[in-house]
């Protein structure tokens, strides 16, 4: 069950991390149970109390892992590129879903795309000419991953050796 109001109980510095960080170190569980982590661009849906991520079908292992085992973790521990001063580290544990539907319309992700393009200015050159479109088209065949948090932990100053502040949500 989703508790969409949990962000209202988060301190502003934690919400700033969700809004500003360029990457969430995202873990899914491989078939043999190994936790496999890659950095992904996180999209926080504050009004729905959840996160969205996307992955290309050319890099589908995350999707396959989630369809097999929905348990995931998102760690926000790399503030490079943000204007935040001394932000906390934040860890989300939750469950994810990744329907087998291709997202080929960018409009629902317009604001995220604008944020990503501003964060990564070089990406404005992707897909400008026919050759690069042939090379990169696969990258834009995207699957959407929904992450419902079950437990939120955070550490002021990013000091993860300390005991965390913690918010346990439904299922956590």
């Amino acid at each position: 069950m989703l508790d969409p109001a949990w962000p209202d109980r988060c301190p502003p510095e934690v919400l700033a991390v969700f809004a500003e960080f360029r990457t969430a170190e995202t873990t899914t569980l491989a078939a043999d149970g190994t936790p496999v982590t890659w950095p992904l661009f996180p999209m926080f849906r504050r009004d729905r109390g959840m996160f969205q991520l996307t992955t290309s079908i050319g890099l589908p292992d995350k999707a396959f892992n989630i369809r097999r085992d929905p348990r995931v973790a998102l760690l926000f521990s790399n503030p490079v590129g943000t204007a935040l001063v001394d932000p906390p580290a934040v860890l989300i544990q939750g469950v994810a879903s990744c329907p087998d539907e291709l997202a080929t319309d960018f409009e629902p992700f317009r604001e995220d795309f604008i944020r990503l393009t501003r964060a990564q200015p070089i990406s404005r050159f992707y897909g400008l000419d026919p050759l690069s479109r042939r090379l990169v088209a696969w990258y834009f065949y995207r699957l959407v991953i929904d992450v419902v948090p079950q437990r939120v932990r955070w550490w002021p100053h990013g000091d993860m050796t300390a005991e965390p502040h913690e918010m346990v949500l439904h299922g956590g």
Binding site: T34, G81, R118
Partner: protein, 143 residues
């Protein structure tokens, strides 16, 4: 493998270690792995509730403009040894920025895997809305 990995880890400020907690959920933390006997000694704070077993290590870097990306993953396991946690590496998986022509290699491999994904589902190759993308990018820089 251990020497190569030590060198690789040393080129990053820290790593992300992910283990499983008592409920089998992945749990991650920043760490600074130190070479030890048979693996790398890692500090896993008590709050992680770590259990011995499957584990992963990941390093990544990007500059302030999300460029010059480098990343790699190490699959392995964690064990308790003389009161300390040791990460035992098994397989290194290069991500961005490693090997020869990394971007080109990623493009070719990604294109092949995407084609296989579509083929397995008998789906046609989707049209990318390039004009829509261009309009959004224009908006990003010119408002």
């Amino acid at each position: 493998m251990a020497d190569d990995l030590t060198r690789l880890l040393g080129s990053f400020g820290s790593a992300v270690i992910t283990v499983l907690d008592g409920d089998g959920r992945p749990v991650s933390a920043r760490c600074d792995p130190a070479p030890g006997v048979g693996g790398f000694v890692v500090d896993l704070p008590a709050w992680m509730g770590a259990v011995e077993g499957r584990a992963g290590l990941m390093c990544h870097y990007h500059d302030a403009r999300l460029w010059h990306q480098r990343s790699f993953v190490v699959r392995g396991r964690v064990e308790r040894s003389f009161g300390r946690w040791v990460f035992i590496p098994e397989q290194t998986i290069p991500g961005m920025g490693y090997g020869r022509f990394p971007l080109l290699r990623m493009m070719i491999r990604g294109r092949r895997r995407a084609a296989r994904y579509l083929q397995a589902r008998r789906l046609p190759r989707p049209e990318v809305p390039w004009d829509q993308m261009r309009a959004i990018k224009r908006e990003a820089f010119h408002g």
